[in-house]
């Protein structure tokens, strides 16, 4: 009972971190149309800058905020120098470039900090005790922060004009231009939003894993891809749900089978989804997560 409950909380926390990262990835995919393999390194950069800034004496919250902002600056810099010049060449050159970007960023971190794990400055909270059941406090907070982030993304996409223009550009870029929208600016804004979310994801990832290495984000990206694919890539709401399923799957696998099978599980999900429902559980047809209130004729 105790193990079950704790595993559930850990699963929600891991799912929350995956969800944050997957939603950020999905946002940029929707507008730019390519799968960004360099996205995991944004999480790594955020985790390491947060680590460095706390080492330098900053508190965790200001360090995390600054780390997130720095991550966003790095992401926009990379997008401008590496991705934008190739934007008209289609998704494949961009995808391959992003793999190169991943290796460069990852190894820059390795040059700076070495390959051995560093302790992420997560708060050491004692678990809550509720009638004999221990509830891990840190994991609960991680899940709540992830939830607030999801809510923020939802409000941005559904209830602000900026979010609607982002969705419009993702839905039909030519028509967005024909509606008077400067789509290059929207792409830039989307990079900023997506990388800020990646920054938050990196901080949460560091906090949930405790130790960070230069490849922490790259390895995590596999789980993020699995979640995004499960939800239907390009679908923010599908990604959120896919992430929770993957997170729960990973933690239950670790608790009841073995932690060594995490990536086997993720790969298994990817293969199964591609075989059975290439559009994802929520892709195509059920594609829009918010049901129409008017009903269909």
């Amino acid at each position: 009972m105790d193990v079950l409950f704790q595993t559930l909380v850990y699963g929600f926390a891991t799912g929350g971190v995956i969800a944050v990262a997957a939603v950020g990835l999905t946002l940029s995919f929707g507008v730019t149309g390519f799968i960004n393999f360099g996205y995991g390194e944004l999480l790594t950069v955020a985790a390491y800058t947060t680590y460095v800034l706390t080492e330098a004496g900053l508190g965790l919250l200001p360090a995390a905020a600054a780390g997130t902002a720095i991550t966003s600056a790095v992401a926009v810099g990379v997008a401008r120098t590496c991705y934008q010049p190739l934007a008209s060449r289609g998704p494949l050159p961009l995808l391959i470039t992003s793999i190169g970007v991943a290796f460069v960023l990852q190894n820059l971190v390795r040059i700076g900090f070495g390959g051995e794990p560093r302790g992420f400055p997560a708060p050491t909270w004692t678990p809550w005790q509720l009638g004999g059941v221990f509830i891990p406090k840190l994991q609960t907070v991680i899940f709540l922060v992830a939830g607030v982030c999801m809510l923020g993304v939802h409000l941005l996409l559904r209830h602000t004009l900026l979010g609607r223009t982002m969705r419009a550009a993702a839905s039909n870029e030519d028509l967005a231009r024909l509606s008077g929208l400067d789509t290059r600016r929207i792409v830039l804004v989307t990079w900023v939003a997506s990388s800020l979310i990646a920054g938050l994801g990196g901080v949460l990832l560091g906090a949930s894993q405790g130790d960070i290495t230069p490849s922490v984000g790259f390895e995590f990206l596999l789980l993020v891809f699995a979640a995004a694919l499960l939800g239907g890539i390009g679908q923010p709401y599908g990604a959120m749900l896919g992430a929770l399923l993957i997170g729960l799957g990973v933690e239950f696998g670790a608790a009841y089978v073995s932690a060594n099978y995490n990536y086997a599980l993720a790969f298994g999900v990817i293969v199964l989804v591609l075989l059975a429902r290439p559009g994802g559980l929520f892709g195509r047809g059920g594609g829009n997560a918010v049901p129409s209130e008017g009903g269909t004729p």
Binding site: L161, R167, G180, L181, G294
Partner: protein, 249 residues
Amino acid sequence: MGVAKQPLLEVAELEAGYGDLRILRGVSLAVGRGERVLVFGPNGSGKSTLLKAISGILRPSAGSVRLAGSDVAGRPAHRIVRSGLSYVPQTGNIFPDLTVEENLEVGAATARRGYRERRDAAMDLFPTLAERRRQVAGTLSGGERQLVALGRALMLDPGVLLLDEPAAALSAAMAEQVFDHVLTVNRERGVAILLVEQNVLKALEIVQRGYLLETGTVRLAGPVGELRASEAVRGAYLGSSPDGPPTTP
């Protein structure tokens, strides 16, 4: 003379294409304020390319596009639309993932002042838009989608509307309705219409003048009466017209 002294839209010697492929070889045409003008011609004659080049989605390689006197050729599409020219492509003319109302709102995103009035006016013009306002546009029927496309295109109060085969892929009855809607937009709003249409017989009933485009140039131009009387048009486009026996081209 159908053309007013200073046309609202004046295209001169426009050339455009894709890579080395030249499609428009110097097209000139004019649309006056509130006028309804048809562009027709065989497949591959450059009708759609013409609309793309005028609207800025495709950058013209030569020639001019004067909109109320100022040349907009070569400007990006999102600027041209703000100068009063809206374009409804044949396909991909709605945002399928957005609701009907969001489609309208995005259409007005660059001119928020007076958006509610323009939205309400569009919904008065086409009550279906109001009935379906919260429905995701991709789930609408073909005819309803055309209404969303028209509504979105009206959100920036254009002086001229470019329509690429709005009735294609619709049933005859639905096509009839769409043509009625186009007339409504023109009569109630005074919006000039530049229409590309394959169904020439039908289209000539709702326009005042027309241009016959062939291999990227204007082969023939004139008011509807002249076009109907022309051998070239009767032979190839009005074969089934009641006022003449079917002729083989």
